[in-house]
Symmetry: C2
Subunit: 338 residues, 2 copies
């Protein structure tokens, strides 16, 4: 499938979804839309993902099957400056894939255009109707369940889950990803958008996916969300922790981060305390232990400094650690897989 990715004014630094799709999804990306860096190429900014031209708008994109909204502003609203591009896509018969809280299919203009041009609006963040409360049964599946947890939002949990599952498969293990957020769902082509389900069903929506896949694979890598210390998003984190009944946790962190992103008055507690917090919170529901750590060192230019930071982080969590993007996943997989 050929797609264009909308990432206006945010590519690549604040375009987590766009980057995830470029890196992991099975799409041919024909163009990235970003009016601020039109004329550049993806490779000018990010070397290790598939390359594509960056253009100012949908009218500069050739033939594609879908336009994918690759950015997610805080609050998840639709930015009206994107309307022309979505309209153009629909008029040309392209599907539109979005992970916003604002549902495109409830937008009258888009719904009408989609019907007129026989194309699909896929709001990946719209939960299906049959979700319900957890039965506390995820622990019964055969698979080993490995959940990424974090010190904050946007520290790399989705990326780490994808890297671990891909490399485990390449090493001959039967591993799958359990996607819980818009990017993971776009990459995998299925999944429950946990941050959008009814709060009572948070754990249940994770459990449903574990039960669906848990006897088909030997390892499930569950994409975590938020952080257990986050003033706004901890409920989602807690629901995933208990709903997945994880066996192992991979604690994800970004080197140098000291405060909650967007909530700077809230300092991060010490790294070792996170290990206790996650294990203590999990314990009445599952015997989850932090068996590995992933450190995002993209903010450190020097490889030696990054290596030092990873070493310090491993000491702090008392478990093997790595930056999977910079140094690969070998050490982590050795710790996680039997």
């Amino acid at each position: 499938m050929q797609i264009a990715i909308l990432a206006h004014e945010k590519f690549p630094g604040r375009a987590k979804t766009a980057l995830g799709v470029l890196r992991y999804a099975d799409y041919d990306v024909e163009a990235v839309l970003d009016r601020d860096s039109a004329g550049d190429r993806v490779a000018d900014h990010v070397p290790d993902v598939q390359d594509a031209p960056i253009v100012a708008g949908m009218d500069e994109v050739g033939d594609v099957d879908a336009l994918l909204i690759g950015i997610a502003p805080i609050g998840g609203g639709f930015d009206e400056s994107w309307r022309d591009d979505v309209r153009t896509a629909l008029e040309r018969g392209c599907d539109v894939i979005a992970g916003l809280h604002y549902f495109l299919e409830e937008d009258e203009e888009f719904a009408a255009l989609a019907a007129e041009n026989d194309c699909e609006l896929w709001d990946v963040r719209k939960p299906h109707e049959e979700l319900t409360v957890s039965q506390g049964a995820a622990g019964d599946v055969d698979a080993e369940v490995v959940l990424t947890v974090g010190t904050d939002c946007s520290v790399g949990k989705m990326t780490v889950s994808m890297e671990l599952a891909r490399d485990a498969r390449e090493a001959g293990y039967d591993a799958a990803v359990i996607p819980t957020g818009q990017t993971g769902i776009m990459i995998e082509g299925w999944g429950n958008p946990i941050d959008r389900v009814v709060s009572d069903f948070t754990a249940g929506a994770v459990e449903e996916m574990i039960l669906e896949k848990g006897d088909e694979h030997d390892y499930l890598f569950v994409e975590g969300q938020g952080s257990i210390v986050h003033p706004a998003y901890s409920a989602v984190t807690c629901g995933i922790l208990h709903g997945s009944m994880a066996d192992q946790l991979v604690l994800c962190h970004e080197a140098g981060k000291e405060a909650i992103h967007g909530y700077e008055s809230f300092s991060l507690p010490s790294i070792p305390s996170y290990v206790d917090r996650y294990e203590d919170l999990a314990e009445p529901v599952s015997d989850a232990t932090v068996t590995a750590g992933a450190l995002n060192t993209s903010g450190l230019e020097d490889d030696d400094a990054a290596r030092d930071a990873v070493g310090e982080y491993a000491d702090a969590i008392d478990a093997p650690a790595a930056d999977p993007i910079r140094f690969g996943t070998d050490d982590l997989l050795e710790a996680l897989l039997e």
Copy 2:
């Protein structure tokens, strides 16, 4: 306002909402509907709430303004055996108040009858449209925020919040309740149904209420939900803990309870560990401490045994404790109010 309360086959033991409304709300209850105990009176079963006749159906009820659904089955569905009563109420021009996950206003027959007879369907569990993520700002309000937390669901958190707020007001303090569940909302006449909001907005929906009332009162008693160790509902509990940015916690428990209700393979951890769990989880967001405990001793017939159980419970949590229904709230208010 005059109401009837529907509680078929569940009054009083499994009719938490009906009992809460009978005990705390400012309604005149004309009748309780329970086909299993029709002919009895409320006072035959529950001595310390307003009395009313128990009848088999709505056609035996005199003139009322509203029918209130006073039971909430697991899952929150609508039981079709209630349809005749709701239909009769609407045909007589009564409003219908419900706290189910199933919304009456989305039921075609009820919506049509309500329109025809000019009466209102109030689905208290339907969240309003403007909810969003927490700003992490609840700690900025003037009021002291007191949250009830629990060892499990249905151990008395709503009751304890109502008792404390009522008795604090009677003692001359300016205290209000922040309702978070269907019964609390029905009693108070406003509030966000936290278990039904989008999971990303769990903390935000609590914060919204704290910010609305926090500078108008000296004490806010926040109705807690679920339990932080609950395999299905912990997400909601966590969101309320962080969203309220509570100053003080009242740990609620039911004497003799050893396992999670409905999830009997999950044992409750030790009582002292709950104190640590709640305080540790709160700590990165607010300095909440467990300053009092409430023990539901309704399962103990003997007052001395109940008194012993309360004493043991106070020792276990290392804070003053009481059964507010059996022994009053004096000891708790002394610990909680300055």
